[in-house]
Structures are given as C-alpha cells and as structure tokens.
Amino acid sequence: MSRAFRDVLDDVRRTPLLSALSVTTIAFSLFALGLFGLVALNIRQALEKLEDRVEIRAFVAAGTAPEDVGQAASDVASFPEVQSARIVTQEMALKRAQSELGEFRDVFEGAVLPGSIDVQLKPGQRDPATVKRVAERMKTFSFVDDVRYGEEWIEKLYRLRNIAGISGLALGLAFAIVSVIIIGATIRMAVLARSKEISIMRLVGATDSYIRRPFLLEGFAKGVMGGLLALVLTWIAQTLINRYVIETIFFTPRVALLGLLFGALIGLLGSAISVGRHLRRV
C-alpha cells in the first residue's frame, strides 16, 4: 500500500494541473449535488413542520358528562398511533376561536362552540390512511358528533411529500451518476497519461489488482478532497442564502460526513470503472 501511496504522490507531483483539475471538477459536481441536497433537506424540513400541524378533532355532543369525555380521551391517548389527546371544553374552544380569529372577535360574543378531543399523532403516523383510521375509531364513541381532520389537506401534503421524495431520489441519483461519470473521466485521463507504465507493469508480471491499487487510492483521495471542497462551497452558498434570501438549515455533521464518504465512494467507483475498462482493453 505504501508504494501505491507513493505512486499517487508521484502522479500528483508530475501532473499537478491535471490533479487540481480533477479535484475541482469532482468538487463542482459534488457541489451541485450538495446544493440539491440542501434544497431537498429544507423542503423536507418545511413539510415536517406542516406535518406537525396534522390534528384530529372529535367534537363532543353538548351535555356529555366530563367524566365520559375524560375516559374517552385517555382511551384515545393509549392508541399506538397517538402522541397526545387533549380535552378542549366549550369555554376553551370559544377562547381559541376568539384568539385565532381576532378580527371577528365580535362574532363570537355569546356564541356556543362545541367542546372537543384534539388528537396529535406520532411522527411517522401522519399519513392519510392512519389519520383516517384513527378518526374512524374516534367516531365510534357515542357522544362524538363529528370528527374533522382536514382529509383533503393531508392528502395534498402527502402527495407533495411523495413527489418531493421521488423527484429528490431521481435527481440525487442523476447527480450521483453524473458525478461518477465526471470522476471516471478525470481518472481516465490519469490512466491514459500512465498507459505506457501500465503496459510495462503488465509485461513484467504485475497483477491487475496491483495496477488498480494506486488508481483506486487516487480516486478515493480525489473524491474526499473534492467532497471537502464541495462541502465548503455548499456552506458558503447556504450562508449567503441565509443572509440575503431565506432562513435555511445546513446538514448535520453526520450528514456532512456521509457526504464526504459518498464523495470517496464515487471517487472509488469512477476509478474502478475507468481502470477496469482500460485493463480490459490493453
């Protein structure tokens, strides 16, 4: 391995411009991927915030004994999908309406609003099917007049989430493939620059795995360096967006590390494909 490492350093020393070009090219392709990742992350974050607002409201018939409502709320709270079940009395419902619809405060003077049990679902249990299932179960309480959960809104939210997820995956995959192709092309240049050396290596009995080693190491190193550079560029871009456009969040350290690993992986993959193709041809 030390020889492979020495070979990589020799190669960088001999062709500094080509090496710098390779790292920059990788960095820019990963930067594009990073920017896309940032957009996807922030869309996801926004959708999660919206999801937090998914709520089922079961309206309680007037005159229902508070003990019955309390018992029902604690039953509902024990459903596996449910995060919390809160009792909203008629008075509380009125106050809430007055504070939420401040401009129409007067309309609520002397009004009577029904009490309710407001249910929040656990994260991951807020899809339309689960929401509907829990709502249907709540309808079975005899004192429940009506159950509302914004069926149409939740379905739209989930459709949007699915579209964002699928297009995110497809675009991410496309960017990753483009990155692999670019890295493969830059490594291919390095392979071609050393094709004479490779043919001599073969003639004197080097195995293909020995020949591959320095190129794989080079691809890995370039992937990591390109990844680091891309991470810095993405961070700068996010800082500028935060300052001049809109408040956004950045990758967590774990995701950033995964990004670097991804860079290294596509560096390796690009190299493996390029060297493999060359070795098969010669």
């Binding site: 001999r14 001599i200 290596m201 073969r202 003639l203 004197v204 009995g205 080097a206």
Partner: protein
C-alpha cells in the same frame, strides 16, 4: 521449455496471423526467429508471454498452458520471462535504476532486495555508471541495455526479444548481440525476432523462418517441408 502445438491465430479484421505452427524451444537454446514483416513473428512471441492466446492449438510455457491460464497465471508466468522490444519501452521520468527496479517493485519485492539486484544486472549489462541517468540521457544502445537489464532482473528462464536491434546502428547491434550471447551462455533461453540476416549468417544458432504465418524453415528440423536456407 516452450512448446507450440498446432497453433493458429486469426483476427476478425486482418485474418490469419499464425497458421498451424508446432515448435519447441528447449532450456538454454538460442533461437533466431526471422521472416518478412507480417510473417507472424511478433504474434508468435506475444503468444509466448500470453498477450495473445491461440485461436486453436496450445502454447505451453514453463508448465503454463494457454488453454487454461487465468490472468494471475499469466502475471506469474511473465515474472519468469524477460521481454525486450525494439522501442525499449522505458519510463521517461524514471532513472535507469528505477526503470530496472520497477520490474521488481510491481511484483512486491522488498526495497532491501531491489537495490542489490538492480546493481548486479546494471553491472552485467555494462551500465553500472549510468544508474542515475534518465533514459533520454543515454544512447539507443544503452537504452536497450537498460531494457535488457529490466528483463533480466527477475532471473528469467527465457528472454523474448522482438527486434531488439531494429533501432540500433551496427556497432550498438553488435554490442547488444554480444550481451544476449553472454546471457544465453549463463543458461537463459533466448528467442530473438530479427530481420538482420547478416547477424543470423554469422552465428550458428538455431534459426526459424516464418512466412505468411507458417514456419517455412527450422534449422533444428531440416526435414520440414519447404525447407530452404534463410
């Protein structure tokens, strides 16, 4: 030992390069391989170090069969052979020492062994004083000596030389040929492809002549049909 058994090689675009060749080269033999350009000499040599595999028939080299050899077997076989070309094939950015040591490096020899072996073969080929030079600083004859040193550094049982004097003047040719004779005298088989009929006439080594992919003369088998003096 190197043995060709009814070997033919053809290419989809250019047709037959070698046709039904059977040939054996014994340990310690010196063989001239001659014939016009396109006669099949280089293809025959490539089949010895298995850069090409026969379309039909079998080439067996030091126990390795062209029919069954895998890539790793071929790599191992080449460590037992020395290969020399007309164009030297030295690495321009490496010194002569590094070029010769390269053949040991790539098969994983430790640095402690490489230095000693390189010095020994450079002395053997008369380049002891030129180890630190770059190939471009040497004459053609010296570059070919360096290529021969690289071929010898693994102590091969046979040296395959494809037109090793093709790019050299008469004096350098004589020097290289003398070196090959000395290597042969130490027990290494040599198979040398050459157009140089003068060289062949002046030396009493086995001569195999090829034409249109076939062996048309072998001095070791004068009864061969179509035999004639080269």
């Amino acid at each position: 030992m190197i043995r060709f058994t009814r070997v033919s090689k053809s290419y989809p675009k250019t047709g037959t390069a070698v046709h039904d060749v059977s040939l054996q080269v014994n340990k310690g033999e010196f063989v001239f391989l001659t014939g016009a350009s396109g006669a099949g000499k280089s293809t025959l040599l490539k089949m010895i170090y298995m850069e090409e595999r026969p379309t039909t028939g079998e080439v067996r080299v030091a126990g390795t069969s062209s029919v069954t050899a895998k890539a790793t077997d071929v790599a191992k076989l080449r460590r037992k052979l020395g290969i020399v070309f007309q164009d030297f094939r030295l690495l321009e950015h490496r010194t002569i020492e590094q070029n010769v040591g390269f053949a040991l490096e790539v098969i994983g020899a430790p640095d402690s062994v490489i230095g000693g072996k390189v010095a020994r073969v450079l002395t053997q080929v008369g380049l002891a004083a030129k180890g630190r030079a770059l190939p471009r600083e040497l004459s053609g004859g010296e570059q070919q000596r360096a290529a021969i040193a690289r071929a010898l550094v693994n102590d091969p049982f046979a040296l395959i030389a494809d037109e090793p004097t093709g790019n050299l003047d008469d004096r350098a040719t004589r020097g290289i040929f003398q070196l090959l004779r000395e290597i042969n005298a130490q027990g290494t088989s040599i198979i040398m492809a050459t157009h140089n009929l003068e060289l062949i006439r002046r030396n009493e080594f086995r001569t195999v002549e090829m034409a249109r992919g076939q062996v048309v003369f072998d001095s070791a088998e004068p009864s061969l049909p179509g035999t004639r003096t080269p």
